[in-house]
Symmetry: D2
Subunit: 339 residues, 4 copies
């Protein structure tokens, strides 16, 4: 008996989940997509993966009694509303990150999760990636002792369209949110006391006109005195850069980028390795499969999913603090946001 | 319309193909297994992958009109007979390597392939591996100029059972056969003029009582004066070692081993990377999928498979030459085997 | 005709310079050491390197007409006074970093340098290291385009004695001063607008009683919007960690640690490389030789040394800003320190 | 009291030794060069290193009572004669490799060494290199258990002049001789039972007219069943390639090439490391210093030098066997050369 999944949003990430689930996951099947603007060409792509029904109104998904789980893959500003509606329609919900731009709204969703007793998870896919899990595994084995300094480098291969940036909530809520989540995941939820953020639009000045930046550094101060540094940039010359390094009292651990092959070319130009896998679709292909599997297994076995709404809340909390820090050019205490 | 596949031999490699095809390949489905000794526990494993029928007599597979393709995954000494019978029963054939211990028998199979006009391929899976393909790609782009020296390092993580060794045909026909094929694949079938082989039973002296060795080096002399060196060992302390290095006039290229993650641990013990993926099941998981896809696509589109019976013949030819060289402690000319 | 050098301070760094100059530098010779507390055993070590005269009073060095150049290798709180006195005694001066704890005092030394027209340099040895120079070379070739993000990782293998820490001026003036200088060196003196510093005593709580920390992160905001991140820690499990990574618009470049050999051990424990060279004596042995050569060549050829008193000033300026930032937990503008 | 050294042969290797000794070695000084064809420009280079006397006749060196040690850096065909004459003139002798083209002549030199009781060593400089010593160190610590397979890769960056090749004795005596010595050094003189050699002139066909080859592979069969493979090529696109890999029962170890810095450039072209150090002068600069120090220390302390005439003999023995194997296209037993 497979779970039946309906997805709100037939864009790139909706397709990624459909592909992952219908090709590689036994426990569930995506059967319907709701998207007001899905053209026939894109419908065809979904059809090839076994999707049968297409709705222009997402309410039709919520009303479909066959559907067990709703995936919210629509623009971020709709996540909050759709989450609540889906939960109230008695569906489990997989919500893409971030759950909402406002912390209060996430807390509201949390309330509804509790009331409806449905399963809810957030798409922090990197927690399911083999490299990040290799770090986590070492941390849990206590290979590294106490964490002193954590550093996350996260750079995209190229700028997204201006239209995307406008709706994204800015670099901290759109891009660095993954790194905030990762910092919490790897430290087993160390308490963040304060946040310092800096950044500029250095790749493309127009991005500052959209009230965003493309290059950023954030420092997280944990209550125990240790610290995390996150570097983001929306462009590189060499592809997707996804590295973490943790300096601990007993050992330091790090992960490097993945490549398509281990080829090395030695020539007059030097000793040349392959560039990293191009972007998140290539890099996290398997992580998407695993995060979906985990959610279905959690539901089946009555366990909490690996990523909870609290995790979704905490990452947004740090993103909000970073936004204030950048704007006001000062260190921001988390307590300022939580009174 | 999927191809229906029947497999002769329900052992490890039969399972590998069933798993690859039924989980990851759209164009075909394994529906039946013929194996005289398959117990119910192993049947259950195949059943979970969607296999419906189990026969103790392989002839039942050949007689089943529903089946389009036969996979020969039985012990090597049966490959020849089953290949011919399957072809004559009007089936396409995927034969595990080597096709036969004797060159004449491979030529017989070749004759039947021609007569029956069925598709036939040999399981030289490494040709479909991402790392070896990365080398091939560079060679085809002419990154390296003329090939001067080719070196293949191929080491297994541990000894197989004595029972296996007894039937394997020896290290050259069982293990190095992959490397002979790779040398030919990477050089675009350079003509081998002579072969020098050396080796001993250094890991386990009992292996010499079985008339085999566990550690070997072979040098292939190509007609154009260039040369290949192949190193095999049946045991390492660090896992499966599958590397190639090619020295060319314009550049030299190599591939390193694959790992599960890019984790690096820096501690008092040094700077430590992960060991290679443990063995062929882990290392070539995707190559098995790709080799199967390639065969089905070849059949569908009326093209020659990437690995032909001629490729199967040439690898055995080199293995036979190596056996003579080892036994007689001398350089063996290929022409000696081909009068 | 070699320059005659006298060194104030017969401790570790005084010995390093004597060894570098008398063993590997043709243009000069260390002939005298002034140190009130140099025991006979340590005298012997200097004698073996060819040092003839030993004084307990540094004034004797200043009065010695044979001596051309004074090296100031005494505790930091004496650097300022000795520099001025040596310059006024008509000697060229090589002063170990930092020139003084106070910016005003460095400006005073600068005034005396101008008045006396003697040569003056500061011991920012890393500017002469092969790895950092390889980065600089790429920057000057414009391989990387515009610098977007600079990251310096600098960790010592172990804690210094408490006595040392007490007099050191704290982690920013003692340890990170090298990294501040490196950030300026690599960016061709980009203007720093503001500094954010954080840190704690995580390795040893006693260090906080000495009003210092052992683990720190500093962010430098450059006027052009780009940024540098510096990570320091006074202890690792794997040796001296000296890495830099620069993310640029056209390319990103980095340097890794040096090792004693390129040995790699593959075993059941993993694939193990050597730890970095243990500490600065091993890592920067050649850099000390080169910085001395550069100073003598500058004097001989009437050119400015590669490191000037302005460089010494700027590094201390950033260290002072970092100290305020750490203490007051806020972003500090450089303009606050320079009115 | 320093040893006084006289060098026969003022070419490149004579200069290398003079530079190493007079700049970096305390125990000795090169004071005289004998070379019939040394022009004034080259004399000047030696003069700058402190050499005082220049003779056109090497006998003048032998007659000079001040000289303790003779370095034989002349063409290979003179090594034998000069060695014997120098020993009989009561000088210690450092002879560049190989001692002679003929084994009998080396045995003659050995006899004279015994008779005269002078110290004699051969210039197998790689034994003093940090990377090879790191391997040796692991072998002596028994990190690797029993040696199963040894592989030496040794490639020059470019072809030498035809004039050099004519006099060199061929690739095995000129170039691979270092690798033969290394195979013996690393295995603690395992007994070689037979040798197989193959090779061609692939880089430059004219080399075959000079009765030599430029690309070669040799397999050494040790008496205990283990084996070594040596790959040589006289040209690469990427510089000097000097690597060794040893597969052992407990671990496998290898060394990679040295580079000038640890720089890594990430760009659209890939992830690029530096090429290896260009050639032997760069790569073995420190090894030359250490081999000279070792010889002087051996003499001073009445110990055998690390490289003896027996080592010189064994390397030539293997080279001779390889020459026969190449010519006669067959496996050659060492016993054939030693009746």
């Amino acid at each position: 008996m497979k779970f039946k999944v309906g997805i709100i949003g037939g864009g790139r990430i909706g397709y990624v989940h459909t592909h992952a689930i219908n090709k590689f996951v036994d426990q569930a099947k995506v059967i319907a997509i709701a998207d007001a603007y899905l053209d026939s060409q894109n419908q065809e792509k979904f059809r090839k993966l076994g999707v049968k029904s297409f709705y222009s109104d997402y309410n039709q998904l919520l009303l479909d009694p066959e559907i067990d789980i709703i995936y919210i893959c629509s623009p971020t500003d709709t996540h909050y509303l759709y989450s609540i509606q889906a939960l109230k329609a008695n569906k489990h919900v997989f919500c893409e990150k971030p759950v909402a731009f406002d912390l209060e709204k996430i807390l509201e969703v949390k309330k509804v999760v509790k009331e409806t007793k449905k399963y809810f998870t957030v798409g922090h896919n990197r927690r399911f990636d083999h490299n990040f899990l290799a770090l986590k595994d070492q941390i849990e084995k206590n290979t590294i002792g106490e964490i002193l300094q954590l550093r996350i480098t996260s750079r995209d291969p190229g700028l997204p369209p201006y239209e995307y940036i406008k709706k994204s909530g800015g670099i901290f809520l759109d891009m660095m949110i993954h790194d905030f989540d990762m910092a919490l995941f790897l430290t087993n939820n160390k308490v963040v006391e304060s946040v310092y953020a800096t950044g500029s639009a250095l790749i493309d000045k127009k991005i500052s006109e959209l009230d965003d930046i493309d290059t950023a550094v954030v420092v997280l101060n944990f209550k125990d005195g240790s610290m995390a540094t996150i570097e983001n940039c929306r462009q590189t010359s060499y592809g997707y850069d996804q590295r973490v390094e943790i300096h601990g009292t007993k050992a330091s651990i790090k992960i490097e980028n993945d490549t398509n092959s281990t080829l090395i070319i030695s020539s007059d130009h030097g000793i040349i390795k392959e560039k990293p896998l191009y972007f998140f679709l290539e890099r996290y292909q398997n992580a998407y499969i695993q995060e979906n599997k985990d959610f279905f297994e959690a539901i089946s076995s009555n366990k909490e999913p690996k990523v909870t709404i609290d995790d979704g809340y905490k990452a947004v909390l740090l993103a909000k603090a970073a936004k204030i820090s950048l704007k006001e050019k000062r260190l921001v205490k988390i307590s300022e946001l939580e009174e």
